[in-house]
Symmetry: C2
Subunit: 311 residues, 2 copies
């Protein structure tokens, strides 16, 4: 099934303890799209400036991502974000944000993008997310991300958008903030009560957890001895998750579980190099090997304890 993503396409300047890049391809729709492209056909909806060059388009082309709905504002500049990470890779320190053409982003969906069976609303203004969702009447499974900025400044709009989708994929701090509930399991239940089919809570180095109506699934993170650059890990997770779902005709709890693992697999690759470098160069044998690694690191035999203590 086809999959549409709406979100940012950007240039990032990145600085980590392991090195520095002045200008690499980034943005939520980029990371998501690349990751999802290994599993399904992807339509990307976004906006870039005249500075977006052939090298960047080539990355999308290589992954057969439909970029017809990435608008080019020839006299504008592409969204630019600059950030630094210290050894605690969980927190990005923003050095500079230049919204540029993204400031007035007005997603325009072609019929092809509107007719996708799955839709991912990356982190943009909640009312824009809702407007896009309403245009995609054929989408049978819609997921969204959001961020602390929207939750603190317009929580009602975020909630309205959540009520119109099937799944939220957010991090634990966002889940707590959205529900005013410190316990993550209660927070997930409160979100489910808004009418969702699934809630995925990303917990960084601790993995991801999936909540469905009758199920709970805990996926660990891949045990990495060094995280090179975490930028885009969350969107790469969502891309693997949604892309894998899109490769199935029906979305059961079992499929959602494996989607969580494929999301974790893709995110674990993303952080091994700067920007999109690692995912751009991935092949299927690497992806499936890491999927099997996840299986082996979570597997145990279901042998109940039989001893009856002498009383």
């Amino acid at each position: 099934m086809s999959l549409t993503v709406v979100g940012s396409v950007a240039f990032d300047a990145l600085e980590t303890p392991f090195g520095k890049r002045e200008k690499v391809l980034g943005g939520a729709a980029t990371h998501f799209g690349l990751s999802a492209s290994f599993f399904t056909e992807v339509n990307a909806v976004g906006v870039v400036g005249g500075d977006f060059g052939e090298a960047e388009w080539d990355v999308f082309r290589r992954h057969h991502i439909n970029t017809d709905d990435i608008e080019v504002v020839a006299d504008g500049k592409t969204f630019f974000w600059s950030g630094r990470y210290d050894y605690d890779m969980n927190t990005a320190h923003t050095l500079d944000t230049q919204l540029n053409v993204f400031e007035t982003f007005d997603p325009k969906l072609s019929e092809r993008s509107r007719n996708a069976k799955l839709l991912f609303l990356a982190n943009i203004l909640p009312s824009l997310q809702l407007q896009v969702r309403q245009q995609c009447g054929n989408a049978g499974f819609v997921a969204m991300d959001t961020m602390n900025f929207w939750i603190s400044s317009m929580k009602d709009a975020v909630i309205d958008t959540i009520k119109a989708v099937d799944c939220v994929i957010i991090n634990d701090a966002e889940a707590r903030q959205l529900t005013d509930e410190p316990n993550i399991h209660k927070a997930a239940r409160a979100l489910m009560d808004l009418g969702l089919r699934a809630v995925v809570i990303k917990r960084g180095e601790y993995g991801a957890t999936l909540f469905t109506k009758n199920g709970y699934f805990a996926a660990p993170a891949y045990p990495l001895e060094s995280v090179f650059d975490p930028t885009g890990a969350g969107d790469t997770f969502a891309g693997g998750f949604m892309g894998y779902l899109a490769s199935h005709d029906s979305i059961t709890d079992d499929v959602l579980r494996r989607a969580c693992i494929y999301g974790s697999v893709m995110a674990s690759f993303n952080v091994e190099r700067f920007g999109t470098e690692r995912v751009d160069a991935l092949d299927y044998s690497e992806i499936n090997q890491r999927f099997r690694d996840f299986k082996s690191m979570t597997h145990f035999d279901d042998i109940p304890f039989e001893r009856v203590r002498a009383v």
Copy 2:
């Protein structure tokens, strides 16, 4: 196989957002022993004062724990700890510590305790741990805990003790502090390099991870909507882990994995009530049901992704 534990037996005063207890049975050897007693025969080695009463001994008796090596100092008082937890249940705020008879604790092991096949050295002075370990020549699998206080004040002694055991069971902060290594996977590898067979790192609400020579296993925590009292959770984990190992003739990686799950099962019960209340009242059907719950919340089918993208 029989199992000996050396550690504190105490009275605790506890205050959590959910209630208060002035004086409940506690201590590492107590929590460990109760938990392990569901799986094997346990010898507890410790010291108490004349204030330790029949109600306390009854708890040990009910669980068929051999208390011959719990010394009674008739004119002394039992170790007393008082602590408070806020809504962030990960951090205990110590209000009062009265070591009492525990201050001069000099473990005296009977032949029965010395001949146990498994030994757990709960958190006591590292040199005492080492001395006990050396008395137990028949112990084929020895595990230990420690704490930040010993690591910062006598790291060399902690390392010497680690070199004499097979397994450490510690929390993530302690693993980082011991090895000066912020990455938990590198920290575990550095500990393994001291000659260990297994390292178990407890991560509170994020579960526990097991490192062996050739294996890595991630066990999630049980999804609890409220943690009532986390006191003793780590020792209860260790008790389930070591108790389960003691119920096996040979300790393979598969057995270690299931031991991690049984440890997590027991710890998840421990935090549901104050002190030992919940584990004291447990039955096997509850334990095995929760073991199956862990299986179902981590299971996914090992189906590799088959689609080959048209190029």
